[in-house]
């Protein structure tokens, strides 16, 4: 397989994540979209490293860190979503339209 195939796969994954972010009502579903986008970037890193054999450790470390960051981000985001649910009794993005104008 070629590098381009992997890059296109990552791009496809990214676009699907983007679609979820833009189209879904549920805040958790939006978060899922973000996770997909992050994973697309991860595939990119490893693919570049593997095909262009840049640096034996760097890409793996980046991927490792991104996974860790994603976990932290998800924890905070879920906490905020949970809190929002308690107040609004809803996690629909359309319920959040008080702040505007």
């Amino acid at each position: 397989m070629t590098l381009e195939a992997y890059l296109l796969l990552a791009l496809l994954l990214f676009s699907m994540g983007l679609y979820a972010v833009l189209a879904r009502h549920n805040l958790i579903a939006i978060l899922i979209g973000v996770e997909l986008m992050l994973n697309a970037a991860n595939i990119n890193f490893l693919a570049f490293n593997y095909f262009l054999h840049l640096d034996p450790a760097m890409a793996q470390i980046i991927v490792l860190f991104v996974i860790g960051l994603a976990a932290a981000e998800a924890a905070i985001a879920l906490a905020i979503i949970l809190k929002l649910y308690r107040k609004h009794q809803s996690i629909d993005v359309d319920a959040m339209r008080e702040l505007r104008g």
Partner: protein
Amino acid sequence: MNIAFTLPFAVIVIGAFLAVTRSNILHAVFGLAISLVGVAGAFLALGSPFTAVMEVLIYVGGIAVTMIFAVMLSSVSSPAERGGFLRKSLAALVAGLFLAGGSLIIVNADFGAGNHLSTDAWSIQAVGRDLLDRFNLAFESLSLVLLLAIVGAIVIVRREPVLPADQDDAPEEEAA
């Protein structure tokens, strides 16, 4: 077609498709988990078993499960995805444009002579050494990030006690 590529490819796309389209949020989380397992497969195919294991452990084991918890805590039945054809098509349009444009860049890119399959064996030892050497600072900061996230998550979801009518501390609502 190479099975090492097509299998993860299929799993990723099917999983992501589920994650993106299922209106039941629990199904969507399962879709995400499937997709991430596929990503782990891709990592494996890209010669990095270590990250593949981590992906499954942290993502599928950690993040996806946390999400399921959150779903359970917030509501068993997710909000119905009402109508929203316009929103979906606009989202699809933006995502599609990004896809098309990105592929244009990728297909036209020139990666030079080095673009071929690597045969280097990637050692976990190198990763471990670099973590404590070159990426020492990043590594330490990551631990701070995790600490911050844990404390933060606890602080955010902690319930505010309903205090007696103390002048200053009484919880007040903004005027509706």
